[in-house]
């Protein structure tokens, strides 16, 4: 049996009690009582064991279905739904990532509820609190905004229910706001910066002037900081202006006017969701594009579809996944085919991230052999190679961040597109290990298991 306690004193005391009871029970009591006494080693925690006692377990999903990030939220939801379907049916694709999966997770069917977070932390926390209290959710997920991710991190740690993080690009999510009860699959500010930085310096050279557009919350600030630091330190680039705007700004003209007067050669747009679409379109209306070169350090699913390939032509972006990686990775190929069959379009990285999160969660629980939260968390923390859609990956125990490659893509010219969804060409798949900061560099302190 695996050790389930973290504190050395309690561990010693519990183990003593356990051994003592075991001996006493073995001598004096019928078998039924023995197992009951041993179960006392795992006192109820979070929604366990109630949430895992039936034939099914419940997952609480909160994604933005309205507001600035609605398009990306819907895509993410499709990834979750496909993963749940595959896990419940024991699909061959899931088995590639979670080999021990038969049907469901530990034989239990997955059920789920969906709530609209509108990318607002309060909405997400309220919805998940309801899923935890009313549905005994054994795991919660959601994101598409790091503000939401950080809030759910805190909820998860307080409620002792695992939070499998959805799209979240902030360094803080597995940095200063990391928690024992949260894990993140996708790339983030620092890895994005360290992956796209060299590509930018190689393509454009040193000593350039860049204007940043930054959404005013944890995601925007950390991504801008990481990207700017890389370019300044390694390439002598200069940030000539940083236009910080609120999430969901209705108009970018005043920010763009500042940029027009800044003398920048590059427009590094960190805005996301519809904010990215609108700010990019308006930058074009103002004649800033293509005069300045656009850079997207943190890819936005559907951006190219919405602004048009003539705007994203030649634009560098860092991303978690692009569907043409199917030529390189067989698991990616299976995923793209399955997704397209069900939904009628090629998946973007939001769906890929959602699918991978659930697949890796299924793997972690099967590996633990239990839904007992500390066991599942320790399973995440036990080093082992895992399969993913972008090759071999591994969890980092110290901050619960997946060590995974970052994909650098470049926008194709409309004439080079082989099909209507062939917006980006993959320039490079940069291995993850060299991109990450030291686990404690952003002040991560995971907190307790119980």
């Amino acid at each position: 049996m695996q050790d389930r306690n973290s504190g050395s004193f309690t561990a010693g005391r519990r183990r003593f009690m356990q051994a003592g009871l075991g001996v006493a029970g073995g001598l004096a009591l019928p078998a039924g009582f023995v197992s009951e006494a041993l179960a006392a080693d795992q006192p109820p925690i979070g929604t366990w064991p109630n949430g895992a006692s039936g034939n099914s377990v419940f997952i609480g999903i909160s994604v933005p279905r309205t507001g600035t990030y609605a398009v990306q939220g819907e895509d993410e939801l499709k990834g979750y739904q496909l993963a749940i379907e595959h896990i419940n049916s024991g699909h061959p694709l899931i088995k590639q990532i979670s080999p021990k999966t038969t049907k469901g997770v530990l034989g239990k069917e997955l059920k789920y509820g969906v709530a609209d977070s509108a990318a607002k932390p309060n909405d997400a926390v309220q919805a998940q609190q309801r899923f935890i209290t009313e549905n005994k959710a054994i795991m919660i997920t959601g994101g598409t905004s790091s503000a939401v991710a950080v809030a759910l991190n805190k909820l998860a740690q307080r409620e002792k229910v695992l939070f499998v993080c959805g799209i979240s690009g902030s360094n803080d999510t597995t940095g200063k706001d990391c928690v024992r009860y949260g894990v993140r699959q996708n790339f983030y500010g620092e890895t994005a910066a360290n992956a796209i930085g060299p590509a930018l310096l190689k393509a454009y050279g040193k000593n350039k002037k860049a204007a940043f557009m930054t959404p005013d919350y944890t995601y925007g600030h950390t991504v801008t900081k990481s990207v700017n630091e890389f370019l300044t330190k390694n390439g002598g680039w200069q940030m000539v202006t940083n236009q910080v705007s609120p999430l969901g700004a209705p108009d970018y003209s005043s920010y763009l006017t500042n940029i027009a007067n800044s003398g920048a050669e590059f427009l590094i747009n960190v805005n996301w969701g519809h904010d990215a679409v609108l700010s990019t379109q308006q930058a074009k209306q103002f004649g800033l594009l293509p005069k300045m070169k656009l850079v997207i350090p943190y890819q936005i699913p559907f951006l190219a579809r919405e602004v048009g390939p003539e705007t994203t032509e030649g634009v560098f972006a860092a991303t978690d996944f692009w569907w043409t990686l199917e030529d390189k990775y067989p698991i990616a190929k299976m995923f793209v085919e399955e997704f397209e069959k069900k939904y009628g379009y090629k998946p973007e990285w939001g769906a890929e991230n959602a699918y991978m999160e659930f697949a890796l969660w299924a793997e972690a629980v099967e590996h633990a052999g239990s839904f007992y939260p500390p066991d599942v968390i320790k399973s995440y923390e036990t080093p082992r190679k895992l399969n993913s859609m972008v090759g071999e990956v591994q969890w980092r125990a110290a901050d619960h961040q997946l060590v995974r490659p970052v994909v650098i893509v470049k926008g194709k010219a409309p004439k080079d597109m082989k099909s209507k969804e062939d917006y980006w060409e993959v320039v490079e798949v940069v291995p993850g290990a060299g991109l990450m900061q030291k686990p404690d560099a952003f002040g991560c302190n995971l907190g307790s298991y119980t």
Binding site: A70, D216, P250, D251, S253, S254, N258, H274, Q285
Partner: protein, 291 residues
């Protein structure tokens, strides 16, 4: 970036942004002033006008047709809304009016989302107005320049209707004292219907004129609504000139603050509103007696 050229650029940009805010806010303020209904569906009506225009544009390829169709569509929607739902709420508490218009807003937004999804749609500016124009200190999108002119004309038309026609006289009288107008033998309720229709039409017109600038999503009205409320409060509830001046002030505050520190652009807007409320609780052009 405090340079002369940036200052002039932002000053102009504030005017362009303010002009649109003025147009949307004027519809809101006229409806509230006359009917006493705080229409939380105004943002959704702005959005609906944009989508109606988009559909018309897809069908005909003509921006002018899109503007006319979007505007007329919203006139119809406004009149139907007033006849079927809003008129039952004139005598009821403000909370009920807020709830019903808020509910209508949700219905409009989600119905549009159902048919068009959340992905943004674009209505291109007419060919003659696309591209950029040099203003000496800066380049500015030609269409945005045109919008200033279009909005000026639209506001002028509204002004003439409100201040130079019999209907306008009744409407303005209704804003001051609806009971008195009623007792003079004028069918106030028919006037209310017309006013609601005009307000909706103004929102729809702004929605389609704004479409090439912002790209359409079902949520496009929500962000605008907050700003228009600020404009109405600054200008004075129920005051048409207030809405125009308030809109321009709001546009300038956003633009000029962003020049100093973009992170504070919207904060300053609310700070200005608070200041106005402290100094002139009824807004810049608000009159005593209006509720």
């Amino acid at each position: 970036m405090l340079t002369w050229s940036n200052f002039l650029s932002q000053l102009f940009n504030g005017l362009a942004q303010g002009a649109l805010l003025a147009l949307i806010s004027s519809g809101l303020t006229i409806i509230y002033g006359t009917l006493g209904v705080l229409n939380l569906a105004h943002g959704a009506m702005f959005m609906l006008g944009g989508y109606a225009g988009y559909v018309a544009y897809q069908a005909t390829g003509s921006f002018v047709v899109a503007v006319i169709a979007g505007t007329l569509f919203m006139l119809v929607v406004g009149v139907v809304m007033e006849r079927v739902i809003i008129r039952h709420f004139y005598g009821r508490p403000h909370e009920d009016q807020l709830l019903v218009t808020f509910g209508l807003a949700i219905v409009f937004v989600e119905v549009v989302r159902l048919f068009f999804s959340s992905q943004s749609l674009t209505v291109p500016a007419p060919a003659a107005l696309s591209g950029i124009t040099s203003l000496g200190v800066m380049f500015y999108p030609t269409y945005r320049l045109a919008v200033v002119g279009i909005v000026a004309v639209a506001l002028l038309v509204l002004f003439v209707v409100l201040y130079r026609t019999r209907l306008g006289m009744i409407v303005r009288a209704g804003i001051e004292d609806a009971v008195m107008v009623d007792s003079l033998g004028i069918d106030v309720y028919r006037v209310f219907m017309v006013v609601f229709g005009i307000g909706a039409m103004a929102a729809g017109f702004a929605g389609i004129v704004n479409a090439p600038v912002v790209s359409l999503t079902p949520d496009v009205g929500e962000a605008i609504l907050v700003q228009t409320f600020v404009v109405v409060v600054i200008g004075g509830v129920g005051s048409f000139p207030g809405a125009v001046v308030g809109g321009l002030i709001a546009g300038e505050i956003i633009s000029l603050t962003s020049m100093v520190n973009p992170g504070y652009a919207y904060v300053m807007l609310f700070a200005a509103m608070t200041l106005v409320l402290l100094v002139r609780p009824r807004g810049l052009f608000g009159a005593r007696g209006r509720e």
